[in-house]
């Protein structure tokens, strides 16, 4: 009976996956076809416009990873285009150093772009989004000022000639072909990154940064590679732009271009490649059709931006996403299947206990944790209860590294946990869920769960970029494991649905599935039963018990006393930051002091 229904569920999901991969490639093929026949039907003027669109796309494709995927609002990216244009032109012209071959000029531009891409991006690694936006804006202001002022090199306001391409790329259509090739390459590499653990990590940073850290994603390690890549691609685009313009002055690089790049991505939709590609093409061509409006084009872009932000924050991609409009059945039940757990746990390192010794943490004058000792044995469910403000969640946050303890230590087995470094926990086999589920609403359920396996991926950034064999293997393994984890928590039939469409209770189970990707040594559950129906709580209890039986030490913070007493082997009661009682559920239930602390006697 179960196997039958399982098979029925599995097949459409698999088929749907392959079909959607095909339909996903379709629009790109169509665009490529149009681009390929363009030289046969268009004139030279069209060649220039089409070349410009291709060049802009080279920049936007890289910027898309930063803005669309990682959600970092780089608004002054024209500065890197300017930089690339000047570096190639200056080196090719030989007015500073001896004139260099084109390949060297472009390589130098790419390197400069990569370096400044990171420099401008530094504030994004630690600070609020607005600071990054303003630092890119500041950089854009400054690059223009320098281009104007540094006359001996840049020619100041008079400008300088751009590099020239050799045969056969020296005709409009010849150069177009070259730029088209670069654009296609840009599409391919950014799509490789986007559909990998790197891409998912970027989206996790954008929409669920706290959860991203708990899953071993370090903001700087995830962002620096895309800043390098985005900067290099923008600078290469700048070099091509200089060739296309044949002569460059600072006037050619107005802030309006930044706005165009930026809006192309937002119109297209965050977390999509096709959307921004269409956005770039449309925004490049549009002014040509509406010549009388040319002066107002930036104004119109700005109005468009405002309308998009206020009305359709998802962009074109969201509007066109028919796949996710299909109605979900309303009365769907979450039926966990713990029988697949052995598959998830196969080949994992041995379980180890977690110990806290004398942990002290004070906020201001208040000792939130005042010398807490706690041992969570592998294979058991350990309940942590206590009145409001007793320190339960604080204890969880110390173990998972969000708070730095001031005294004492926490170990997993014999390994001390590094203080206050949440992004190092996943590697040590610690996983957690959150009081309010932290999932990426815009990604599918499966992609959300795969975020949990970020630390187990082996393919490096370059391997991923060029789609070398390691990337495919990683993706297949993670996807297979993700489906298994989803089956374990009973959500496999929703694997390809966007998480935003799920109910609250289902999001809680997604978080557990994400944690199971690690087959964790310690699983911390922060009020997993909150908002669940009695039936769902019962199934949750069975699932937690099954997970513990596979060797995971489970730490359960929960208000539902009945769940605690039903599934815990051990219960610790905290009060005012100290351990008030510690023992079996039966001990605790009859502990007079506990009952009165709970009731506030």
């Amino acid at each position: 009976m179960t196997s039958l229904s399982d098979a029925a569920v599995e097949k459409p999901a698999e088929l749907g996956h392959k079909a959607s991969a095909l339909t996903a490639a379709g629009p790109f093929v169509a665009l490529a076809a149009v681009a390929a026949i363009l030289p046969l039907i268009g004139n030279d003027y069209w060649a220039v416009i089409a070349t410009r669109a291709a060049i802009y796309w080279v920049l936007v494709a890289g910027l898309n990873l930063i803005v669309g995927y990682a959600g970092q609002l780089a608004i002054g990216y024209v500065s890197l285009l300017t930089l690339g244009a000047y570096v190639t032109s200056v080196l090719a012209a030989g007015n500073v150093l001896p004139a260099m071959p084109l390949a060297v000029c472009f390589a130098a531009a790419a390197m400069t772009g990569a370096i400044f891409g990171v420099v401008v991006g530094l504030p994004a690694l630690r600070l609020r989004t607005f600071y990054f936006a303003i630092s890119t804006l500041g950089f854009a202001t400054i690059v223009t000022q320098i281009a104007l002022a540094w006359q001996s090199v840049t020619g100041g306001g008079i400008g300088l000639t751009g590099p020239e391409f050799p045969k056969p790329f020296d005709t409009p259509w010849g150069f177009y072909t070259f730029c088209l090739g670069v654009a296609a390459f840009a599409t391919w590499i950014t799509s490789n990154v986007a559909h990998s653990r790197y891409g998912r990590a970027l989206v996790a940073i954008r929409d669920a940064d706290v959860a991203a850290e708990a899953n071993g994603i370090s903001k700087s390690r995830a962002l620096i590679p895309v800043f390098l890549l985005g900067g290099a691609m923008a600078a290469v685009a700048g070099g091509l732009f200089a060739v296309l313009q044949t002569y460059i002055t600072p006037d050619a690089f107005t802030f309006d271009l930044s706005v165009l790049f930026f809006i192309a991505i937002l119109i297209g939709g965050r977390g999509s490649i096709l959307g921004p590609l269409i956005g770039t093409v449309v925004l490049t061509i549009l002014p040509e059709f509406a010549a009388p409006l040319a002066a107002w084009s930036t104004f119109l872009y700005a109005v468009l931006l405002l309308v998009i932000v206020l009305a359709v924050p998802g962009g074109i991609a969201d509007v066109l996403d028919f796949h996710n409009r299909r109605v979900l059945t309303n009365n769907r039940a979450i039926v966990p299947d713990p029988s697949v757990l052995p598959g998830l746990y196969a080949g994992r390192p041995a379980a180890e206990p977690l110990t806290m010794r004398g942990v002290v943490l004070a906020f201001g004058g208040v000792r939130a944790l005042d010398g807490v000792d706690l041992t969570i044995e592998p294979g058991t469910v350990h309940g942590l209860i206590g009145p409001n403000g007793s320190g339960k969640t604080t204890a969880l946050n110390v173990i998972s590294g969000y708070y730095a303890l001031q005294k004492g230590e926490v170990r997993i087995g014999d390994t001390p946990l590094p203080t206050g470094r949440p992004e190092l926990r996943a590697d040590l086999g610690l996983a957690r869920t959150f009081q309010t589920p932290r999932v990426v609403a815009e990604e599918t359920v499966l992609e959300n769960v795969m975020i949990g396996g970020t630390v187990s991926g082996r393919a490096g950034f370059l391997t991923t970029l060029l789609a070398l064999p390691g990337r495919g293997r990683d993706e297949r393994e993670l996807a297979a494991r993700g489906r298994m984890a989803l089956r374990a928590v009973g959500l496999e039939s929703l694997a390809d649905v966007r998480a935003s469409r799920l109910q609250h209770s289902e999001l809680r189970f997604i978080e557990i599935a994400r944690a199971l990707m690690l087959a964790p040594k310690l699983l911390m559950l922060d009020e997993p039963a909150a908002g669940l129906s009695p039936d769902e709580i019962a199934r949750l209890g069975d699932l937690i018990s099954a997970i513990a039986r596979h060797g995971t030490a489970v730490l359960l913070v929960e208000h539902h006393a009945d769940l605690i007493f039903a599934i815990c082997q051990h219960v610790t009661v905290l009060n005012l930051g100290r351990v008030l009682a510690d023992g079996t559920p039966a001990d605790i239930r009859s502990h007079k002091e506990v009952v009165s602390a709970y009731l506030g006697g």
Partner: protein, 243 residues
């Protein structure tokens, strides 16, 4: 003793409320009569704070209705409810730390006619001589207990007909708890109704006429505080039916 619900000052019927996708309150019905002290108890996460927020207009509700002095509270914000005489003192003694005690009270009297403010503030401070002596100190310089007194005094500046207190005892030493809850008794003698959310069940019961217990977003107990075997019933309500 029990007055019929029709005369109730605050009347909540089948209220649903929550945060985004998370439903917290499920068809909660309760009432508070004029001059009555009602305790609202329940385990963590039961929805007590959510209920108070929904009543005072800090959180929109998704179903049901609530009336205060026979006027519907649907769609009203905290400013309107406070004007009507329903004042909510939120949890966590959140005083404005960078402003003096007196200025904190002036802010509470923002909507009070200018000429009356001083009198109202003196009236509120009369309940708390401890902080009256510190009226020029910064709110942030007060101890936790004094800050709690200050936020209660802020509520009293409005001369409420119903004062809703959310966990006034949290984080306070026992002596101060008695001090703050003692004011509840004083208010009751003067005819002000109080809806008291408390963790310290026994202390709450000692000050109240009636008690509701809320668990998992539902009212699970409604008894006068004189009911027989009350503590047992509340314990059962807290721990589910495992006992």
């Amino acid at each position: 003793m029990p007055i019929s619900a029709a005369e109730a000052l605050l009347h909540v019927r089948d209220l649903d409320a929550g945060y985004g996708k998370i439903a917290v309150l499920h068809r909660v019905s309760m009432h508070v009569n004029p001059g009555e002290v009602v305790a609202l108890v329940g385990p963590n996460g039961a929805g007590k704070t959510t209920l108070l927020r929904a009543i005072s207009g800090l959180l929109p509700w998704t179903g049901g209705d609530a009336t205060f002095a026979k006027e519907s509270l649907a769609g009203t914000g905290p400013r309107e409810t406070a004007r009507a005489g329903l004042v909510h003192v939120i949890e966590g003694h959140r005083v404005f730390t960078q402003q003096s005690v007196y200025d904190n009270l002036l802010l509470a009297g923002y909507d009070v006619p200018r000429g009356e403010r001083t009198a109202r503030i003196d009236e509120a401070l009369a309940y708390f001589p401890e902080i009256a002596a510190k009226r020029h100190d910064l709110g942030g310089a007060l101890s936790g207990g004094q800050q709690q007194m200050l936020v209660v005094a802020q509520g009293l500046v409005r001369r409420p007909r119903l004062l809703m207190l959310d966990e006034p005892s949290a984080g306070l030493a026992p002596v101060l708890v008695d001090r703050v809850l003692g004011v509840v008794g004083e208010l009751r003698r003067k005819g002000t109704a109080v809806l008291l959310v408390e963790q310290l069940v026994e202390k709450a019961l000692a000050s109240a006429d009636r008690v509701y217990a809320l668990a998992r977003g539902r009212i699970v107990l409604d008894e006068p505080t004189t009911a027989a075997d009350l503590s047992h019933k509340i314990e059962a309500a807290y721990f589910g039916h495992a006992s």
